[in-house]
Symmetry: C2
Subunit: 412 residues, 2 copies
């Protein structure tokens, strides 16, 4: 079934503005010193949206998250204000500034403050001034456009080297529907630059409850399976807004249309997660670990995360070394209950694939062939536990001199 569904989904352009009725913009207002760097973004729907967000599980939370939780109590939102350069976390008056930011933007847009969300990414523990928002909001409102997903994508970048945007289209009951998305990394928490942020838009008509179910199911296998450096940010946020302008009959129950929406959502989020992992701080290679035949889905997720989270696996891949012992070691210390005696490990990339461990023991393999496979920039590690039937994937990157350089340098 999944294959038939997949055929119906097409990748398209325009990113977060691909769905009908969403405008975006981004400007430089002074949160960051570099005047070429946009640091204030805005996303607005023409009409009210069903909305849902997933936030960091860190006990230390950015002030915007506390405000968004209040604003999402009714399951509705119409837009998002976002700044980079200051995370508004552990800052005096942070909650007040976050609330006031929503009010300023709402006034300029003719909306209610409670219908806007606010996100911040940047240095933790620095004072944040409402004056910068006061100065910037009229400008970012003025720049709103149905075609400018790019400016918003740029405004949220911190140590990211590339913008991360994706959009798909698909038909529901004869109506053309879209999902658009934008994200920023590039450590799971950045150095000073705290946070992964990802915003998703769709014009599908879908009930708030089904939207929530779709996003919660999806993040468990996508955003929650990205490991750059194991540090869980104080500000991580994934938010989705559904404005219903595609005009399809509302998806309000499980069924074929809901499955199609979930699959489209998954294609968007997997694409973003691979982009986020590959652009991890200092990364030169994407590492995907596919764990197969685990006793449960949960165990498959834990084991795959353990492998891509291992500093020793990450440095081995950086060194293009088929050091499968480190993979087995990371599988073995994964905090879950499963059998470790019959594990096969295969390394692959566009240059081919090679079995490096069978039944948890060494096998002879061509180091030359392994070196060719590992010279590519997207490496896949397949770990077959032979202890069940459940699979999962985790997304990570290599650990490099660049990571140490980026994170070892001074805040200023």
């Amino acid at each position: 079934m999944t294959k038939n569904i997949t055929k119906k989904i097409k990748f398209t352009d325009k990113g977060i503005c691909a769905p009908k009725g969403f405008r975006a913009s981004g400007v430089h207002v002074g949160f960051r010193e570099n005047q070429k760097k946009k640091d204030l973004g805005l996303l607005v729907s023409d009409v009210m949206c069903n909305a849902f967000a997933v936030h960091t599980q860190n006990k230390v939370k950015g002030a915007p998250i506390l405000v968004n939780r209040e604003h999402l109590k009714d399951g509705k939102a119409q837009g998002i204000v976002v700044n980079s350069g200051n995370a508004n976390t552990c800052a005096p008056n942070g909650v007040q500034v976050a609330r006031e930011t929503c009010r300023l933007a709402a006034d300029a847009l003719g909306l209610k403050a409670e219908d806007l969300l606010v996100c911040s990414t940047g240095v933790i523990g620095q004072e944040i001034n409402i004056e910068t928002f006061e100065r910037g909001i009229p400008r970012v409102v003025k720049k709103l456009s149905y075609d400018d997903s790019e400016s918003l994508a740029r405004s949220i970048m911190t140590t990211d080297k590339i913008t991360k945007q994706v959009a798909v289209s698909f038909e529901v009951a004869g109506k053309m529907c879209h999902i658009g998305a934008v994200a920023k990394g590039s450590g799971m928490i950045n150095p000073n630059m705290a946070t992964m942020l990802s915003f998703l838009t769709t014009d599908v008509s879908i009930s708030r409850e089904m939207l929530r179910t779709a996003l919660l199911n999806d993040v468990a296998d996508t955003y929650n399976q990205i490991y750059i450096d194991g540090d869980t940010s104080t500000n991580d946020t994934v938010a989705i807004l559904a404005n219903g302008l595609a005009g399809n009959p509302e998806i309000d129950a499980p069924g074929a249309e809901f499955d199609l929406f979930c699959e489209a959502l998954n294609q968007v989020t997997v694409t973003l997660c691979r982009l986020l992992a590959k652009d991890g701080e200092g990364a030169t290679k994407l590492i995907e670990c596919v764990v197969k035949n685990a006793p449960t889905k949960r165990i498959a997720r834990i084991v795959s995360s353990s492998v891509v989270g291992s500093d020793l696996v990450k440095t081995a891949i950086f060194g293009e070394d088929a050091n499968w012992g480190r993979v087995l070691c990371a599988v073995g210390y994964a905090d879950a209950d499963f059998e470790c005696a019959h594990i096969d490990v295969v390394l692959s990339s566009q240059a081919g694939d090679i079995l490096v461990c069978k039944g948890s023991e060494a096998v002879n393999f061509s180091e030359e062939k392994a070196a060719k496979i590992l010279a590519c920039d997207e490496i896949r590690i397949d770990v077959d536990l032979h202890d069940g039937s459940k699979d999962a994937v985790a997304y990570g990157c290599d650990l490099t001199f660049g990571y140490v350089r980026i994170n070892g340098r001074y805040r200023s």
Copy 2:
């Protein structure tokens, strides 16, 4: 009480050979190519010892660990054979080689194979040949000496830059007693070089049950609180042998003498742990995180480990950057239940101390003074949770270009 006890304990030399009746040696036999590098070590007591060992919790275990578990069932051991260069993990016939190694050494020493332990550290997944042991064991037996803790210490080094030895003396019931110890790091798992190993000897007369209690209590606050790179080795082993030759009445119950033994043990293990952390792969600085006033000891341990385990804290300390936001972030994602609203953070070293965060919010501090403090090579991070009365310490090191260089290079 602890202070009075502490005064009675004196640091001394001779390492693992400080207690009466222990001989040690180390030679090069060919597990490693570099002929200057000793790679086979031996430790033997003149008489049978009460013995206990703590092993890795990794589900993938080195073959020696499986054999040691059998040999320690009776709570007795008289010596340890150890090699570096090959971890004897995921190797075909590994268990057979480990058993045969004990038999060869026992024959040469006139002991029973079941009374010897065996440890291996080095590359995972490589075949290990019994011939190398056959060739080496007569030579390492011949070299045994009451004064040569140094050779044993050298024979177990892998990427370690310094030997790690310590010994203390103290009096029990008028009898002079000793504890000696040796350890090797230098990742918690090394690259290919799997494993932390630590051997402890004592001439105290102590029952097997009290020895077990003392070591189990101690490792929870020492070896288990070292975090180099978060990778749990397949071969980690801490083993203690007590031969009773000091002649004190056996310590067989809790009381002042047991407390004195535990404190002496702790002084030895804390010293080793600080040496292990400071000599972590690529490390330039020791990082100690002291968590104070946590609801429980367990929570204090988890939080302190989370801080020294954070790649972002580790790179910040490498960069000598007082980036306390990363400390608070690592506290916040520690997997335990506590309050995060009133946290104070103090950074200190021999150059002084400085408060950088109070009540979980930014405070003004002198960046100049912070820079002086962080320029030292032993950095302490105090985190006061103000949410209870329990404390714990964790030991780690900075994350540097050196770590990536060591672990990114090819196995051979």
